[in-house]
């Protein structure tokens, strides 16, 4: 019987190199005011492999973890799979997604550091909801800047966050300079930028981010740790592991424990670790490996990431959680070394896969998760000539889509359109970025 993991597992000591350091943006001088608790920094920088889950966090995890894993036989039949498809489902908690797993950990560390209010930006609202829940759990105030278009399409996300005690602002708002500047074309980066600015201007406020940070990916490692154990219990073998990628915590959470276990000689064979991203934001499959900003203020350090450019005009879509210009620096470095692979999926395919999954497995997946399911269907059925399987596929369904039903309404009405990134726009948005030099990926023995 798989039990709740008592520790998170870091992949950093197994990489064989260190991540490139962040760089200060040009002409950025002045006082330093740390926003992140030191323990989260330790988790991002240390070569230590196992990090005990603090008791207050473990207590909260126990209310919804281990999350279920099963063989999705009916979905296999629907998509013509030639191999088993195993599903790891992260939507069974109040926030409806995997994001609660790092939100609880972060809220715990910020509360311990003396912070009284956490501020964040959210696209689809899953992260905002998760942080609102975590703040409620640890007695913190919470302020969320949510992409206005997304908040309008999913008003109950706002309701749920407010029910949990959070203050919710539609972004762009009138509360911040970056929100009123009208300069940003990237809505999620703008919402995050507003949160950064709003947090910076308050004495007891801190900005808190959901997905791309190395410590977020560490916290999500419980997904993969559980999955390895659950697959063993089912005698299920997989040679491909798939998760969707906005910035990377869901994919990193399910996939990187397989990498660590293989490098630690606990798994004989390393599965193909396949990131499913939106073809509207194809950073890992068509982006450049360069230093880029993480939010619209451009005041924070620039990170080495696969990016389509922070200034890339990302079109509207039903998967706001994937509408981010860059991938986590950890995943980006692994992609640069061919330790992970990526595939871009259109939103019509993603929602169609979600519809099939709902009918066959009786769970409505989030549109973001539909990208992973579409990729899993293509690989398992043999339609994806670039990514082969001979034993089985594990796919993480990162969240439910019960608050995304307008997306499925549009699918049923036939009004969903794909908006794949154009080569010209990608080139224009990335032309001025400074590439990451390979020597900066410092080798370690």
């Amino acid at each position: 019987m798989t039990e709740l993991p008592t520790a998170w597992r870091s992949v950093l000591p197994h990489l064989g190199y260190r991540l490139p350091p962040d760089v200060s943006p040009p002409a950025s001088t002045g006082p330093i005011s740390p926003q992140v608790p030191l323990e989260l920094a330790r988790q991002s920088l240390s070569q230590r492999e196992w990090w005990p889950v603090p008791a207050p966090v473990a207590e909260r995890y126990a209310s919804y973890r281990p999350t279920p894993l099963w063989r999705a036989r009916r979905f296999e039949a629907e998509v013509g799979a030639r191999v088993p498809i195993y599903v790891k489902y992260e939507g069974g908690n109040l926030s409806g997604s995997h994001k609660l797993t790092t939100a609880l950990a972060q809220a715990h560390y910020y509360q311990r550091a003396g912070v009284r209010e956490l501020v964040t930006g959210t696209g689809a609202g899953q992260w905002g909801t998760a942080l609102a829940a975590a703040c409620a759990a640890f007695g913190l105030s919470c302020t969320v800047f949510m992409v206005e278009r997304s908040l309008r399409a999913k008003p109950y996300r706002g309701s749920l966050m407010r029910l949990l005690g959070a203050t919710v602002h539609a972004s762009p708002s009138e509360l911040t300079k970056v929100g009123t500047s009208g300069e940003s074309v990237n809505s999620l980066a703008l919402a995050i930028g507003e949160a950064v600015e709003y947090a910076r201007d308050g004495a007891d406020r801190s900005f808190c981010i959901g997905s791309g940070e190395t410590y977020s990916i560490l916290h999500q490692s419980v997904i993969g740790i559980e999955a390895i154990s659950q697959l063993a219990e089912l005698s299920g073998a997989v040679d491909v592991v798939i998760g969707c990628v906005g910035a990377g915590s869901n994919f990193g959470g399910v996939a990187l424990p397989f990498f660590a276990a293989h490098r630690a000689d606990e798994l004989a064979d390393l599965p193909l670790l396949l990131a499913a991203e939106s073809n509207a934001t194809p950073k890992l499959s068509r982006g450049v490996y360069a230093y880029d900003v993480t939010d619209a203020t451009g005041t924070g350090p620039m990170e080495a990431m696969y990016t389509i450019g922070a200034g890339y005009p990302i079109p509207g879509s039903h998967s706001a959680g994937l509408r981010f210009h860059g991938a986590a620096k950890l995943l980006s470095a692994m992609r640069h070394r061919d330790q992970i692979a990526a595939v871009a999926v259109g939103q019509r395919s993603a929602l169609a896969a979600g519809e099939l999954f709902a009918k066959s497995e009786l769970i409505v997946p989030a549109p973001e998760s539909g990208h992973a399911l579409a990729a899993a269907a293509s690989v398992a059925s043999g339609r994806d000539a670039a990514h082969r399987t001979s034993t089985g596929v594990l796919v993480c369904v990162s969240g439910h889509g019960l608050l995304d039903l307008s997306a499925y309404d549009d699918l049923l009405a036939g009004t969903v359109r794909d908006a794949p990134a154009s080569a010209e726009a990608l080139l224009a948005a990335t032309a001025a970025l400074r590439p990451v030099d390979t020597p900066e990926l410092t080798e370690v023995s």
């Binding site: 350091p21 962040d22 760089v23 200060s24 950025s28 001088t29 002045g30 006082p31 330093i32 005011s33 740390p34 926003q35 992140v36 608790p37 030191l38 323990e39 920094a41 330790r42 991002s44 920088l45 240390s46 560390y109 910020y110 311990r112 550091a113 003396g114 912070v115 004495a203 007891d204 406020r205 801190s206 924070g300 350090p301």
Partner: protein, 93 residues
Amino acid sequence: MITSERRAEVSLVVRRVVLLESRLPLRPEEITEAEPLNGELLRINSLGFLGMLVLLEDELDVSLPDDLFVKHTFTTVADLVDVVAGVVGEETT
């Protein structure tokens, strides 16, 4: 309370670490505590600052508590030396 000799040792370690983080080929004695952490000479960003704290924990064998750093402002090397020396002093008394 930390002795002046021990504070001087802490200061030397802090200056060595900030030079390392700024990738400057200088000796610790070549910068003063009045040097800005993020200015014309030293260029330390917020994550680099946190990485420095982790390194200082190892170098000085202390645990730096979060409530001394999150949302506090650090302008010069002296600001950092004062806080770290305070923790070192507490742990040795």
